[in-house]
Symmetry: D2
Subunit: 270 residues, 4 copies
């Protein structure tokens, strides 16, 4: 399906402020980027690089005052999330090299202390996809989606203690519990069609069998319609805006729309 996502961000600062933004999705196995616009107003010189996860990162200096960052992404994505209840656990020694780092604990996912709880949750599940799916369902059932409980410093353990959080917290819990079972798990930020209320979203992926599968504990069942903006070990790696002086985000308005996938008229005369 063809999705058009718009992030309309407004920021304000009292001094020139260097930032690194992650707002441009890259094409990959799961999505084709059909169209993009990345506008800065006022216009300032900006540069782009690829980080160690393969994400596109934009560097620029927000000038003193106000700035608008308007990013439109049009992408062809899968309408259904891939599901394979029979995908089995991949023994650690057979994992691809680049999946290994997604088994390490990280800032918001202190998985080293969570194995007992993870084992309890997946009791009776076959190792692999079934475990990953059970963890995701468990989070969906046990945690309450509520703003204001968590903040930028809340880790998965704290969210489990609080019993509530937002998409980012749910994803951190999913990542941490998966890693505790030696299932590589990576944090994802992006857009989800028909998310309500609409906003940037966070979910995660787990490597089982021979590929990554999407899990989103804010939803009651697997859903496609996702544009991935960035992958990381947790939210630290994929902030949509990292600023290196005080900066206020005064607006973050997101819209996601589906459109017919007829990108170009074939009959148009050359």
């Amino acid at each position: 399906m063809l999705l058009t996502a718009v992030s309309d961000v407004r920021v304000a600062c009292e001094q020139d402020t260097p930032v690194v933004a992650m707002l441009r999705p890259r094409g990959g196995p799961a999505q084709w980027v059909l169209g993009q616009r990345y506008e800065l107003a006022p216009w300032v010189p900006a540069r782009e690089y690829v980080d160690t996860y393969g994400n596109l990162c934009q560097r620029f200096v927000v000038p003193r005052g106000e700035m608008r960052i308007l990013v439109t992404s049009e992408a062809e994505v899968a309408e259904q999330a891939a599901v394979d209840v029979h995908a089995s656990f991949t023994p650690v020694d057979r994992l691809p090299d680049d999946a290994l780092m997604y088994m390490l604990q990280s800032r918001y996912c202190p998985s080293d202390s969570m194995e007992d709880q993870a084992r309890e949750i997946v009791k009776g599940c076959a190792p692999g996809y079934a475990q990953a799916a059970r963890i995701c369902q468990w989070i969906h059932g046990k945690l309450e989606y509520r703003y204001g409980v968590s903040d930028a410093s809340t880790c998965a353990r704290q969210t489990l203690a609080d019993g509530a959080g937002v998409c980012r917290d749910f994803a951190h819990v999913g990542v941490a519990l998966s890693r505790a079972l030696h299932l590589p798990a990576r944090f994802v930020v992006g857009y989800l069609y028909r998310l309500d209320p609409m906003d940037m979203h966070a979910w995660y992926e787990v490597f089982v069998g021979d590929r990554w599968y999407t899990f989103d504990p804010t939803q009651d069942k697997p859903r496609g319609g996702r544009i991935v903006v960035a992958y990381g070990r947790d939210a630290t790696d994929v902030a949509f805006l990292s600023s290196y002086a005080p900066l206020e985000v005064t607006q973050m308005k997101v819209t996601v729309e589906a459109s017919a996938a007829q990108p170009v008229p074939e009959a148009e005369p050359a």
Copy 2:
């Protein structure tokens, strides 16, 4: 300056044909990609990856019959090419690691046999930018720009013997002569504003002092207004379309326009 480049490519084949395309510019130190559209008609699943040079590459299968590939790239680029006649030769042992591969000979740039000629051309020049500029001017003065002399197998040595060629050949000669003097040189494909007749274009960059400088022997003086689509060691690495079964390019129409750099209305109400 803000440029909008459009490549409107039509291809035809008699069997399903896998291709790798390089038609999507990436943001980098020299350019900001403001807008993009990458359309395939008929629509087919496509994937994107980053090659070892950092170029974005698109993989898909052209279905039997005809296909249109329509790529629009809007980029903010430098209006003037950087020039520094005093930039000095960087001793090989102080070059950045990733510049070293651009000193090796390659398919179309057999630089190993061209040192004598290169030394002759740059006689009297200070090592560094002055040498690189002299080589570029020499090519511009000595070689005739003429279609039909060269083909896909023509290397720099052949072009020197022929005394004529097109932009790709001129760039190969520049790259080969530069490398013969131990100046790292890389081949570039992209768009040049006001190129006449308009088409995809090829030029090259040379590393002197502490950075890459643009050289374009088809032009009589340094010019900005360039969108880089891909870097490589020579034309082999940066074909806009590599096909793995017979494929005919029935149309390759390029336009490049400049526009005012006012990307987004600042006053628009949030």
Copy 3:
């Protein structure tokens, strides 16, 4: 100076246990690896890959029972640590792309909450090396080196609260305080000549001016004689052994010796 470091590790496990080891130093700007031996007894098939930080990582399965991992590394390293009290703060927008990730908070370095304390410590210092050096001295003066206070879950904030820790904890505090001032800081594990008592060691590096400088808050002044084994954002990334089933390290014996730097007799007849 030429150092020979030996890590003699013995491990035991009750089932076949996949591990990732980081025990092989790589050559780089700061060290030349003259000799290496990496022995596993019993011998098992092992593979090596390069992680996203450029570290060499060894993968193998420790068979049920006992295993010895004996790694000898001979490297030519700087006798003095580089010091430049005048190296100035690099504005964030001029940092190299690959330094940016070392400004993010991480598992053991929650730098986001430590800016006030960092500012207090460096009061009066010129931005840059002087700040970094002050932080290092402050840690050396304030924290007590003591085993048993910290464990594998202790982060920099906890160490500051405890007032004590080991080399790893000291380094985490240094990294976190540096990042809080927007100084890129990376965690290092390796060997230090004449460390007492001898063991694997941890310190950190800070990017100021145009390069990385070594800081080691366990020492009272800058010291060279270091073999770097691995770089990371914190200890998570550079464990000398990550195991994916219960594994006991029954011995970790380290020796580091200096030798004359005459690697090969020049006069030997060909």
Copy 4:
């Protein structure tokens, strides 16, 4: 099997000469580097980096006069070369991204003009391993191994015309013919146990099914006992020594020995 390879290289130059050497094998899926020594006499500062193919490269300046480079590599490698006559052709659109560059023509492998000949050679073979094996056998049968026919500028087409060459030329022909059939092929330099006369050796690998297979047209049947030193698109990428001023290699003495694979006494008391 455990092999110990020694390259004892002596060079001479009349001015300080920067070089890039490729003499240190890296661990990988196919080999475990048990021991290494890399000695320079006289000792000079040297650095190491990883090139775009993943090879370790050593940079240093050979001082005016003579220098000895003595590299010892001890590696555990497969005793038998993997063979799978049933491994089938991988359609281009299913090749891994990083195999694609090994289908491009290169300096010594102008595969674009060789498809007809390649098709003729493999007539009747099933697409895939069988084709690759046929090409290798064909080269072994048709070309004469003879020194003095080729030089540093000889490409695969020339070798076919000459009907003779050395290991490097044979490998170039194999690479070029394989690529002409859309079989990804990469050039390999390294050591082969019991090569006669002993020297650094060159062969190639072809990607079929889901992995790379070794082919060596200098041999009459598949043989293991190989230490890979470097991979590349052809000999350009993997010169054991690239020099950037006149440099004479006055000696290149290679020995390869097999030893018992008992790397460390298990019984040694801790």
